[in-house]
Amino acid sequence: MLPLNATITRIDEESPSVRTFFFDFQFETMKPGQFVMVWVRGVDEVPMGLSSKNSITVQKVGEATSKLFELKEGNSFGLRGPFGKGFSLPSEGEKTLVIAGGVGAAPLAPYAEAAKSAGSEVHTVLGARSADDLLFEKLFAKTGKIFISTDDGSKGTKGFVTDVLSSLDLSVYDKIAVCGPEIMMASVFRLLEDRKVLEKSEFSLHRYFKCGLGVCGACCIDKSGLRVCRDGPVFSGVQLLNSELGKYTRDASGRRVKI
């Protein structure tokens, strides 16, 4: 499928470096955790989680995202997707823990909403560098109890999401959904492993994507050889045992790069 033309209908400033871009059609079948390939024409095409059926939430980090930040309402970009495997939804009555770090909150926002709609009690641990960078705080608060951590202590617990997690009884949750910077996810992974709740957990991974279709192999992880773009980006904790998570990633050429 060739890229669809997405016209921007609204831009929300979520934080100094993060914006949500709403576009003029809905990915009706989208499951939270699935991603789209966002084609900033003439520049690059990059993966972004869907933060709703008709939006992406983007952190400005480099060339493509900076160009995106120059776009205004009425401008457009290309979109292919939705691709990949999303988070699995809880059943009615199950308890869900959402663990979001930084822009990792983007795919987890629609997940928390969907989990609540499914009849689950949803708790969220939301981490960011500082209070200003906290994403979707109101949304998460609406879906249930929220625990906040900031690196600089400007809001909530000073420290990392793991500092919040260490004081929670994780055995009460039936689903644990995690997305954030890899360092953070690796710490969470170890913590969940220690607490023996890994089998309830799912992590959304980032790797360098080229095709986004599961064909080129750019995004495969060790040792399983699973494709992040197709078999993921959401993997169960168990799938990630003995994986490269937190150890290394690969650059666009395929070379291993330490995390």
């Binding site: 499928m1 060739l2 890229p3 033309n5 390939m37 084609w39 024409r41 003439g42 520049v43 690059d44 095409e45 990059v46 457009s76 290309g78 292919r80 994507f209 080229k210 095709c211 986004g212 279709l213 599961g214 064909v215 080129c216 192999g217 750019a218 495969c220 992880i221 060790d222 040792k223 399983s224 050889g225 699973l226 494709r227 690969r250 650059d251 666009a252 050429s253 395929g254 070379r255 291993r256």
Partner: protein
């Protein structure tokens, strides 16, 4: 067991170059879970290359367009991946390599020898990497020289992968044969492009790229058919194979084995599916050996 240029394959389906072949782990997965009889790595070159900007691959109704631009970590970094593939895949591992001239091909082949690939496949056919691939592979003299240079360097089979973007593919195939190739592989992608009419931008980051998948199968079958007539060495068929029927067709055209690329999009175990389908077909038709299919259409006149 199926023997091809001395390699013992579980079955006559092989993973094509550049597909799920950037890491040792994914090569192992295609062999073990996918059921491939052999696997070819991503094409590896003398220097790390990040490839073309995205979009680097898009799917359309009848196939795929890609312009990866030969991203690869270069041979020194790829050695560890090849090691993994050799150790754990359980099938022959063929190293695909590229360079801009005979010396570069030689350098890369030599550099990968420590990992003991079972064969080399020379990519003189990628249609969208300046100075590489088809840029050298459209010139019969260069193809012969490159083949000879690698043959001199290694003592495992050397396959040469051909581009269909030439007036006469058999002329390039003959050059590879003269250079000492143990087999030719046909075809790499066809030059192609797509334009996004909403914006006017070519869809691929590299503007144009290579066409693969169902769309190219009739072209691949014709190339294999012609090469089978022209050459003594085996022809390995690739291009649009996505079912056992396609594989049988390719073999009847003259392919000694098939490679599968784009069709891994449909399902990873396409290799097992194809090889089972071929088996059932052989039984139904009363053939005793898959080799009886090879080139069969040439006898039907």
């Amino acid at each position: 067991m199926y023997t091809l240029t001395g390699l013992k394959l579980k079955n006559p389906t092989i993973l094509a170059a550049g597909i799920l072949g950037t890491t040792g782990a994914s090569l192992c997965r295609v062999a073990r879970e996918g059921g491939a009889g052999g696997v070819v790595s991503k094409s590896i070159g003398p220097m790390p290359k990040t490839g073309h900007p995205n979009p680097s691959m898009v799917k359309f109704e009848c196939g795929f367009l890609n312009a990866m631009g030969l991203p690869n970590p270069s041979y020194p970094s790829f050695l560890q991946e090849l090691d993994i593939a050799k150790k754990d895949s359980g099938v022959p591992v063929i190293a695909s390599i590229f360079g801009g001239n005979p010396a570069e091909f030689k350098e890369v082949a030599e550099g990968l020898l420590p990992a003991k690939p079972d064969a080399f496949e020379l990519n003189v056919s990628c249609p969208h990497a300046e100075g590489y691939g088809a840029a050298v592979g459209s010139n019969p003299c260069l193809v012969e020289a490159i083949t000879a240079a690698v043959k001199e360097t290694v003592n495992v089979p050397v396959w040469v992968k051909l581009t269909p973007n030439v007036s006469d593919i058999t002329c390039i195939g003959s050059a590879a044969e003269s250079g000492g190739a143990d087999a030719v592989v046909a075809i790499n992608t066809l030059k192609g492009m797509a334009i996004d009419i909403e914006s006017g931008y070519p869809v691929l980051g590299n503007r144009s790229g290579g066409l693969s998948g169902k769309a190219v199968k009739p072209v691949a079958v014709k190339c294999v058919y012609d090469l089978y007539t022209a050459l003594e060495i085996p022809v390995i068929g690739v291009g649009g194979v996505s079912s056992w029927q396609d594989a049988v067709e390719m073999m009847m055209a003259g392919a000694a084995a098939v490679q599968v690329g784009s069709a891994v999009y449909d399902r990873l175990d396409i290799f097992s599916e194809i090889s089972k389908g071929i088996e059932t077909f052989l039984q139904r038709k009363g053939y005793s050996d898959v080799k009886e299919l090879i080139g069969l259409s040439h006898e039907m006149v």
